[in-house]
Symmetry: C2
DNA sequence: CTTCGGAATAGGAATGGTTACTGATTGGAG
DNA sequence: CTCCAATCAGTAACCATTCCTATTCCGAAG
């Protein structure tokens, strides 16, 4: 049974490697953004991340958080999804997966157990475009908002 | 072999019916927005629609176009898709379908021949949320932008 | 045909998430 | 330690979209 420290180390190693390969530097602010994403429940917005980071480092700028998230996404450490009429949400799960957002309270959670490989394959087969990215955003009502 | 006028009539009939049922009024501005969508190649933005409508009615307001598009979507006549970092695109195909947007030139075209029913089914089966809407946005490079 | 009330519109201001800009700071290579 | 490029903080700007208000339009009822 691994300790949390152990798992965290492995993650650190992987991230360090991705930074090294990309040429970007793993600064304290970018580390803080990663920490905030790790602590967060659900899928925080840039503003959420900013507020979390600010608790420990009050001088950090919102723009820095946006830039950090953009770098982290570029090197494959962070995934982002955008639902219209609400801020972009970020998370650490970079594997293709589904997220659903509650139209009423804004909560985002993952939908497990849906195979997406075949869809991706069909898309590539049926378009002359060079496919870069497929994003699926699902909207609905979470169990508690459904009642109200 | 139907004439264009004939097909247009059928469309008009269907739309008139949807307006009637919804309680919204089919005003000249809303009709003009529909015309602009019919004429447009690809999937225009609200601004595109606004510019087209403005050619015949220079007094129309951008806000009116947005409101018209929103009403048309609500009654099931228009479909919209939003790619992050670019304005929302609209079209008249309200059946579930895939659209891909070129990351370089912004062109949007449809991807035919991909079955989406099973995905929708799997989504509903695997989440406790009440699913309202599933949107798939695909990004890539169109054939001509791929070269450059 | 006229009147009346609510819906829709024009015009423009406001919003809000995100990006761009600038000068100061930092951190790693030599 | 010094230098240079990358990064950062702070703030202004951007832009798609929404909101606001006075005016106009539409269609139902007389």
């Amino acid at each position: 049974m691994e300790t949390t420290v152990g798992m965290s180390s492995v993650l650190e190693q992987d991230i360090r490697e991705k930074f090294r390969r990309s040429g970007y530097t793993l600064t304290s602010q970018r580390r803080a953004v990663l920490e905030a994403l790790k602590e967060a429940r659900g899928h925080p917005s840039a503003e959420d991340v900013y507020l979390t980071v600010k608790r420990k480092n009050p001088r950090v700028a919102l723009g820095t958080v946006y830039q950090a998230l953009s770098v982290l996404e570029e090197i494959g450490v962070v995934d982002s999804k955008h639902w219209s009429e609400s801020p972009t949400r970020y998370d650490l799960n970079v594997e293709p997966h589904l997220d659903i957002r509650c139209a009423r309270c804004g909560a985002v959670s993952e939908i497990p157990g849906v195979e997406l490989g075949e869809l991706e394959e069909n898309i590539r087969y049926n378009t002359p475009y060079e496919v870069k990215r497929t994003t699926i955003v699902v909207e609905g009502l979470c169990p508690s908002c459904r009642e109200a």
